[in-house]
Symmetry: C2
Subunit: 137 residues, 2 copies
DNA sequence: ATTAATTCTATAAAAATAGTAGAATTTAAA
DNA sequence: TTTAAATTCTACTATTTTTATAGAATTAAT
């Protein structure tokens, strides 16, 4: 399941993607438009900025705007940024790999092989969902 | 990500599935064999019993055994039992559907359509992973 | 200067997760 | 009939994660 943070991030990105290029949206505007608690959204937008999905303009008349193409922002990207691994266990993850503490032999682990297969399929599907593709429907 | 509970359940089922039919495994035996905290495993086995994946024999020389074919126990089943919905949001779930509290119009929600597509793909993949298929590799 | 915005750090409340404790019950066998 | 060894059941607890909120500092336009 997605955390609220990931859901809110996606909603905020969808909001920004529907504005004209050059338009700068205040946090308050996004919060109202996408039904997100404003103070929570502040943190999320900062994270999206640090990860270079959005840019910001400070001071009066400042706000946020997309800097990455809506075709290049995928569900997988946002999931990884806020919720971490796509895989069902860290030992089956590409970007968040960690061995299991209770694992005797990873190469012989019956579970891991199946979870790697799942991760490959889920990742492909999640990389196919972009902010642009979500808007189109 | 899978909770420890789901991971332990899968490991316990794999342990049971590799025993001969008729064999009854004590909780302690499964805990040791699959590196699972014994008291935690007790709860998990009870849940698996209530969901009719395993049977139990009480009293001395009692224990647990599979009652469902290892070909008919899928990753999707165990995920749903312990971790709930396969879908990324409740509004995109088949078995755990709930509307979003912050949703204005579900049919117009850009996010939901994408998440339903992801759920369909993930579910198909997870239904393809069975206890039997995990053992084979 | 004033206003209105982002930015930053810290804190807090609530929920979920992971695990433990201990008594009650059941069954087999001595 | 007693004992031993197992499941079953209820409750509790500690930790971590999630979901925010508070408030001061900084930035920039007017």
């Amino acid at each position: 399941m997605l955390s609220h943070k990931t859901k809110y991030a996606l909603k905020a990105l969808l909001f920004l993607a529907e504005k004209d290029t050059g338009y700068i949206a205040r946090t308050m505007e996004i919060a109202d438009g996408a039904s997100i608690p404003k103070k929570f959204l502040e943190q999320i937008l900062l994270d999206l900025k640090r990860a270079h999905f959005v840019g910001s303009k400070q001071g009066k008349f400042g706000g946020y705007y997309l800097i990455k193409s809506k075709n290049d922002i995928t569900l997988a990207d946002i999931h990884r940024l806020f919720d971490g691994a796509i895989a069902l266990l860290p030992c089956a993850s590409l970007n968040f790999y960690e061995p299991c503490s209770d694992c005797v032999s990873e190469t012989e682990c019956a579970l891991r092989h199946g979870l790697v297969a799942i991760r490959e399929e889920t990742l492909k599907a999640m990389q196919g969902i972009t902010i642009a593709s979500l808007i189109k429907k």
